[in-house]
Amino acid sequence: MRFEVLMADTAERFLCEPHQSVLDSMERLNRQDIPVGCRGGGCGVCKVQITHGEYLRRRMSRAHISAADEVAGIGLACCVIPLTNLTLSVVVGPNVPPPQLGAREHS
């Protein structure tokens, strides 16, 4: 069955396909609610805080998600598979691009 993801910060909602990660479902809908990185649990770019709902986790890099993070509901959206409707928000981590790069592309 399909479950709904509610983005807490924007009140945007989208549906997750069965057995698919939150990020996978979001990309299939051509949405951009969560930043996309490696899609393999390695880079930490799609980090989210899940505040409501239940889910399965695929293995994620300990360099980005500690055991304490897991207990606190922090995970990587590419590795989070909903078991109920979820409420979550994007965690802005250290992995943001240098803002000066790309900004001058069209100058």
């Binding site: 360099a63 250290p94 592309e105």
Partner: protein, 310 residues
Amino acid sequence: MAIRGVLRIGEVALRVLDMAAARRHYADYIGLIEVPVADTAQVYFKAWDEHDHHSLVLREAASPGLDYFAFKVFDDATLNQLTQRVEEAGLTVEHLPAGTYPHSGRRVQFELPGGHLMQLYAEKERTGNTLPTRNPGVLPDEGVVRGMRVSRLDHVLLAGPRLAESTQFFTEVLDFDLGEELIDNDSGMQLATFLCCSNKPHDIAFVLRNEPGGFHHVSFHLDSVADVYHAGDIMGKHNISVEVGPTRHGITRGATIYFYDPSGNRNEVFSGGYIHYPDLLPLTWDTTQLGHAAFAIDNQPRPSFFNVVT
């Protein structure tokens, strides 16, 4: 100068989250050949046209990324000379006797300014590419060239701080040439450097990043641009995570696809590019042409190029 110093990247050791998924990716899809090694938790691979025992080493761990990388040098005397120069440059050198790594002669290991562990070695068991050395022919048996048809390791790109120091180490201590660089247009600061020890447009590259020891990608060589599309077809068929491509890099002029292994380590298939000679002047790109430097067909820089590393 004929190539008689540092020859090529000969070994890359990566951590993966799930070995079963990694085996499927690197062997079945990319087409590397798994090489059996007794009594080890590591898994060893080679590309078909490499002549030494192995070139990619995988280890299952809690976080993906790079354990170390190694360049092969011409012979043992070269290894001695380079070791002395590395020590004179002030780096702490660890001497690893023959047999520390399987089927390998002695190595020296040191940490680069950006936090990456690098090794040099002269000897590794030569197992060949399945073709004989007398009347070798041109075509291996059916099944040797498979998957994405990668022929060999091409280069690595590493992310970390102290980029200028790493670059200087390669040019002044290891006799690499600076082939190309990307600089900030306002400050002139180097953001990425591309270094050659051979006729390739790069054998190793560095990109600036605050956190040390970052792994940006390992690149595998393909014989033709048509093979790049064939590799892309395999990625699509097996739902491999693709970052960008097929496209062409401005820097190096190589045809490329960036994609990820199941643990998030970035891979590349790479073909073409120009021939480098040591008398060429370095090419400089600045950030006014960042998109063209990175991906020269759509000229769009990807934020993920700078923020996705393992």
